[in-house]
Symmetry: C2
Subunit: 232 residues, 2 copies
DNA sequence: ACAAAAGTGTTCAATTTACACCCATGG
DNA sequence: CCATGGGTGTAAATTGAACACTTTTGT
């Protein structure tokens, strides 16, 4: 901090792990057990260690918190957060990662003491430690646009899913309602988005739905645009 | 926890400054005058100093290289580049920023010894120091999608421009041709994209074109999509 | 008058939207 | 039989691409 030219600093990696549970978008949060912000909810994360690159650190945190191998989840870099006063301990920048996960059985309590829990995104606005409210908001916005232009909605689903499941992802993440009939057609007519497994899922009520898994396509041509009409 | 819990490291900030000159997309490059990669072309950038945040560092570099106040240009964070072997001096991460500039008079030689020059983006592929080829490629791709969904094409133009100028930006950045007539209508029908100044610009040849300046809108509804048709 | 670029009008095709209607299942 | 959700067909509305044609300048 004294040497003007070569500043050495510490980096943290913070994870925004999103999932769709029932009818709400959820984020995985931990309760901090150290100062600063002790006992406040926060995004899982930690300091970068020697020999790691950022992605490895993100995958390590992910495994610690969820027990999942990072390779099975979508994990993308969001941005660096660098407000000088974001951490009371001093200038510590954070690289945020966004992970999209299917509805996991439970955030495996087998983590390191601090208990991880799913929380409704709408419930935690303004509650989080550091600048994590802003990081979360940015992450949700990123997820929303990812659904428009990529096939990542499937990252919220398990290996097999119905078109109704997929539509539910769009509706929950976007907070809108979609016409089931047109949605179905749109998804099916997009080459490589989803592929039929041949199976069917019988539900509590109604006609059984065909099951699909992810196709090879990564981007959507054409995109499935939100009709944000008006929000400028 | 392991013995190497808190890794301290240095960060650099690298700038991809793009502009549209004549009929090609150009990037501002410097020739390195220090090892490593001495005498090789590279993106302008440097180490983060104490007391700076990343944006301040980016604006400082920008001012040093171009003489421009950063506030007048679009400047956005791209990503962190963290390959362990990206810098032979050791683990040094770089935060890349993308700047869009109008065709500047010249990269003001009044900088710090190392001469900055515009280079055609297509000419420098594979030539750059560090992982700057990749950073440049990512930046160009980001700029391309920015034109689709935001009003940032105007960031390549001066305070006053014609619709033809704006179309030229799209054509050069995308590497495609656009129908002047449909483009004109599309731009004019997008609320808040451009606003008439009332003036006209007489050119060497042809009918004088009306002049416009930026409007208040930041995003395009609807977007102006590239017809990438087929590239998957 | 002619070339060149700006700008307008019109047509046709593609896409989106809305919704009537049928299908398959549990109660 | 009915309720419920899955899925198909189709017509109207909107959007986009193509292009004939007019306008305004310099030479």
């Amino acid at each position: 901090m004294t040497d003007r030219e070569h500043l050495y600093l510490r980096l943290t990696v913070d994870l925004v792990i999103l999932t769709v549970r029932a009818n709400d978008l959820h984020v995985l949060l931990i309760e901090r057990d150290n100062e600063p912000f002790r006992f406040r909810p926060a995004l899982p994360g930690g300091f970068l260690r020697g020999g790691e690159d950022l992605r490895q650190a993100a995958e390590r945190e992910l495994a610690e918190e969820t027990g999942l191998q990072g390779t099975s989840l979508h994990l993308e870099q969001l941005a660096v957060y660098d407000s000088p006063d974001r951490d009371p301990r001093g200038p510590i920048f954070s690289v945020a990662y966004l992970a999209l996960a299917p509805d996991l059985p439970i955030p495996t309590a087998g983590s390191d003491a601090r208990q991880a829990q799913w929380a409704r995104v709408d419930d935690v606005a303004g509650e989080l430690a550091f600048d994590h409210d802003r990081i979360l908001a940015d992450a949700v916005e990123r997820a929303r646009t990812r659904l428009e232009f990529t096939t990542l909605a499937t990252a919220f689903c398990g290996p097999c899913f119905t078109i109704g499941d997929l539509r539910n992802v769009y509706e929950v993440v976007w907070g809108t309602e979609l016409d089931p009939r047109n949605f179905s057609r749109k998804v099916l007519s997009t080459e490589g988005f989803i592929e039929p497994t041949g199976g069917k899922r019988v539900q509590e009520v109604g006609r059984p739905a065909a099951l699909y898994h992810r196709g090879p396509a990564l981007t959507l041509h054409p995109p499935i645009l939100r009709t944000t009409a008006g929000t400028e």
